[in-house]
Symmetry: C2
């Protein structure tokens, strides 16, 4: 709909106004007509056009009859060369067509367009008709903004979004470009101003900067080169600055603005940001100006997006501790064989906290013009707590965290309890970025542990990977990565869900017994050594594993439903659990093979130390027979002393930064 502006003209003095191309001035003639007026006629400059509503019955009846609701609609089709260079006049007549007065209007036409990349192609197009709204999907529209959550500096660093000035020119890359295109006379008529403005609540979520220097003339032959020094950028709107005048440069010009996102979507913020630009008209001395034209643009903040195991790894993170030299060497061999980078967090930084999976989760933010990885820092805050901020945050590597204020932080807040599925389609609904998976208390538990509400709210608010809540509180440590993982596969849905399965575990041990290997020992050579026969005769262990299988099956049913999986999409890995003495909560009986690191088709699996048959571990044999047909390569890594005995495994002790998904989040149909 064309923006319309109610306007009044006057028979007692000439009225002047500035008209913005593409709008309509609507003049209620009856309002300004001298009393007794019955007819009127209109004259205007050639670039001024008018319509009359309601249309006179006899179109040729000039002068036109004046009715109580006669409205004159005025438009123009070209910008003015000088102020007030276009004219329109209305003459009013009485009963006998005697002239009662003339109302004169002097017009200055300008073109004003606040522009963004509403079609999401990386280029700021001119006056996209959809720039003022957001629509999801490949046929959608609306510009995109990144939270400027990285840090351009590495020395004395802070989040860029914590500074209300631009300290490095490279920071502009993290912002979305916005262009103010104007065309008109060299100067606006006296008293007119352009002003940019945002709402109070928006001011918590965005800042807009512009170069202090003037923009370049598009149709001039000389380009004024911008000197890109720091002080050359000033904040136009943002925190505690809801409105500010912006210059009108005259002629046909483009001014660049840089828009910086400050906050991720959350329970109280839907991620949408509106920025307005208004033309203010003077109302005479002593009166505030009033806006006569407002253009608005809408941005959506990029959500924080997680990367499933099926995406290509970039870098593997692991801690170096006093006791994990051999483990570290195995990981290094595996990572180097795959050709990825290895990043070691050293002792001075990890202070003995080896649970690299638990302190942080890698994700990314994405837009048509720029993208970078963002680490989500867990409120877990073990001895590794400074690592994400101190060692990961940097140029084009963002950081975000949530603080648990009035809530207790539990083991379920560790990010071994936060995973994401590969892309799935569920009952026709597609999740091309997968679905987030977290673990919480059994819904029916009276005193369950939970992931903090602040983190859950954050995850749900990102919207593009709708979370699934599994029940992980039955585990002593309580992380979903203790019983599930995803691996790539060449067929079906392009992945398999791996689940720990005591039933599958018992099946292996029973087969060994039947095939005459009942005396073969697990944990051979370790103090814990125990034979297959002894394991199978342990009724307490059997009952505990019956319970564990029930818990996992409950999750299996949820995952089948929420990810749209068939039994053929799931592989049961032979893993036994036992319950901790005090808590009736489960821990892995032997290294928990599902807690693996997935690097493309290479899997780094906790070495289970199972009973050997013909010199080969029967559990490894079984797992290889399940996974190798999918083209996966299994490397079994000894994590027994430094991880398994401390109730974690390979996955808990590592983290993988992966490439972003080729799917663009804004193309989701939400």
């Amino acid at each position: 709909m064309v923006p319309r502006r109610s306007f009044t003209i006057d028979t007692e003095k000439t009225t002047r106004t500035t008209y913005v191309l593409g709008t309509e001035l609507t003049v209620n003639l009856n309002r300004c007509a001298p009393p007794e007026s019955k007819f009127f006629s209109v004259k205007c400059s050639p670039n001024v056009y008018y319509k009359i509503t309601p249309q006179a019955k006899d179109k040729n009846a000039v002068p036109y009859p004046l009715t109580p609701n006669t409205v004159l609609i005025v438009t123009m089709d070209a910008v003015s060369k000088t102020a007030n260079d276009s004219k329109l006049s209305v003459r009013f007549y009485g009963e006998k067509t005697e002239a009662l007065g003339d109302a004169l209007l002097h017009l200055t036409a300008v073109e004003i367009s606040l522009d963004v990349d509403a079609d999401r192609d990386g280029v700021v197009e001119k006056n996209n008709p959809n720039k003022g709204s957001w629509k999801w999907g490949p046929k959608g529209h609306g510009a995109i903004l990144l939270v400027n959550c990285d840090s351009e500096t590495t020395y004395k660093k802070t989040l860029d979004s914590d500074n209300d000035e631009i300290r490095k020119v490279s920071d502009l890359q993290d912002m979305s470009k916005m262009i103010l295109r104007t065309n008109g006379p060299a100067e606006l008529p006296e008293g007119y101003k352009l002003t940019m403005h945002i709402s109070q609540s928006t001011s918590e979520n965005v800042r807009v900067f512009r170069p202090r220097a003037k923009g370049k003339k598009v149709d001039g032959w000389k380009h004024k080169l911008l000197k890109l020094f720091l002080k050359d950028y000033i904040m136009v709107v943002g925190t505690e600055m809801l409105t500010q005048e912006v210059p009108y440069l005259g002629g046909k010009t483009e001014q660049e603005f840089f828009v910086e996102g400050l906050r991720f979507p959350d329970i109280d913020f839907d991620g949408l940001i509106t920025i307005n630009l208004s033309l203010l008209e003077p109302c005479g001395k002593g009166f505030p100006e009033t806006p006569v034209f407002t253009d608005k643009v809408v941005f959506h903040i990029s959500p924080w997006i997680m990367t499933p195991n099926t995406l290509k790894p970039v870098e593997v993170y692991v801690c170096s501790t006093d006791d994990n030299y051999a483990f570290l060497k195995s990981i290094r061999n595996l990572v180097e064989k795959c050709g990825y980078k290895l990043k070691i967090c050293h002792k001075y930084m990890n202070r003995g906290d080896r649970w690299m999976q638990d302190e942080l989760e890698f994700g990314y933010i994405d837009s048509p013009h720029h993208h970078f990885p963002v680490v989500l820092d867990s409120p877990r805050d073990g001895a590794l707590q400074d690592f994400p901020y101190d060692s990961i945050l940097g140029p084009d590597f963002g950081y975000v965290t949530r603080y648990a204020l009035n809530e207790e932080v539990s083991s379920l807040d560790s990010f071994g309890n936060l995973e994401v599925s590969p892309p799935v389609t569920v009952n026709g609904k597609s999740y091309p970025l997968g679905r987030i998976i977290i673990g919480v208390a059994f819904p029916t538990a009276t005193h369950g542990r939970n992931m903090t509400k602040v983190v859950q709210d954050f995850l749900w608010a990102q919207k593009v990977q709708e979370p699934i809540a599994l029940y992980s509180d039955w585990l002593y440590v309580g992380h979903v990565d203790e019983f599930m993982s995803f691996v790539p596969a060449p067929d079906r849905k392009k992945f398999r869900l791996l689940l720990a399965s005591p039933d599958a575990g018992y099946k292996v041990f029973k087969s060994l017994q039947i095939s005459g290997n009942g005396k073969a020992e697990m944990f051979l050579g370790l103090p814990e050594a125990i034979s297959v026969n002894e394991i199978l005769s342990d009724k307490k262990l059997q009952a505990e594993n019956r319970y564990v299988q029930n818990c996992i099956d409950w999750n299996r049913d949820v995952l089948k439903k929420e990810l749209g999986l068939d039994d053929e999409d799931i592989i049961d890995l032979p893993i036994l659990f036992k319950l901790s003495e005090e808590e009736t909560r489960a821990v892995a009986y032997y290294p928990d093979m599902v807690n693996m690191i997935v690097l493309g088709d290479q899997l780094g699996i906790p070495k289970p130390f199972g009973p050997k048959v013909n010199g080969r571990c029967a559990l490894e044999t079984e797992v290889c027979s399940l996974l190798e047909p999918l083209g996966l390569k299994c490397t079994f890594i000894d994590d027994f002393a430094p991880y398994h005995k401390l109730l974690g495994e390979v996955h808990c002790g590592s983290n993988v930064l992966r490439e972003r998904s080729p799917f663009k989040w804004w193309n989701l149909e939400l």
Copy 2:
């Protein structure tokens, strides 16, 4: 989709489980088959059914071949008479069809359904397939809940929602009924339990009660009459009680529950509430039970809904003060003539605060089973601040407020600045409950006043009357009711928007001058008396009114766009303003006729004290000529001394409780 439950059977001992009608048990046979098994066969009681997937190629090949993914799907079609009265057994065979073992399963079938009024007809139907989700619209579904924000007691009253016990049986009317229907043997097999549960965040928004006494047997001939004493109701789930066992009564039974809403939708709450009921299965001594079946129901909290001027009045509220006797008499006459009730707020309660419009706004909540009015108490908190809680809150009259915690409360928080339009359709989008209208600062103002964010967030979160923000900060008092109102009309959109118009005012005065009445005086007999000629020669007043007309025209354009109005839907009332000395903000020059009370076709309009022609006020004549053709009756009420001089008028000094809209909010297409 039929709920499926993964289940394991065992060749070493008989497995027992409880099956819920309408679900499927899926048994992965390979998991429990003895090693070396190649074939299997199945036998079962006549009321037990099974399917095998993947289906064998040769359907008649018995025993069936066992594949790695063979799944047995078990269903039943009738409830059990006694525990474990149905059986299924699977026999496994080796390569040469020699029997390797039998897995026995004993089944108890029950029927469980947690039921609500998901089809919104006021009756709790049985197992509505849509009971677990919410969909807006006449073809939508989902049960509805009221916030129990009234008070059953009048002595020592508190909001009912502030008490976690039921103190009067009448309070049950404000809750939504929920029925647990079960059918099965007299008792559940040993160790099984039914439990109701809600999430942590839901527990802030809802409570569920049940009678302590047992329910009635539906098929028994004796009905156990429930003694409805207070202690006969106990809270099942709610604040600090996320889960609790509920009794299984045996046979075919219905248990009633009562669901109480606690919070209105707000920025951090979408109004949706999920309540779950699970059947817990024992896992053996020392292990927690696990849920084997979960039924869930969803409620949507009724939003708070405002009532436009076009709805039928019920009761008119007005203050009695030391100086408004005559005004009160005029209002009483008008209200009695119309046949509505008048409620007077006396001095001891109003303590001199006469602005009944500003302290509160009437609305209502609605559901298929019950509805009542709810007063929204403004954070304005003048001397009238205790009136809504102390005098209005009561049985079936609810109360809600919002507290401005970290924000300054301004004059824009008075509810003269909160109105609602009649039903409109805008570009094809229908708003059958109208749209809320509030006034805020000019978007481009540097130091504007605003309505507090807590109130704005509340209004936006109700969703069903999507708000429009007008710009009222140009007024000294700053309320939208100073320049606009809605009146019913027989034609077009069934209403007109009335706008104050200085242009229309000047037109009246100019006509008077032309017709020789230039010496006629406004405010005749008052110290303020002034002639038409003097008014017209006041250039300062003219300039001020030019500015005011600009401000109103800005709002006129917003209203036309957001309410889909044409110029023919708008009537300009002749009203002049003047600016206050210090603030450059406007106040009405003479009683502001648009600030009227609308009671059906009767309008109580501030008496303008305009210049008289032939003994009749020219402003009244003009207003009558504009409104009477619509079938409206104008009564001009003298509010000069007790209201106008204090910068308010009739509307500011009154409030109207109206009937609810016949349109049901859940039928909106959102």
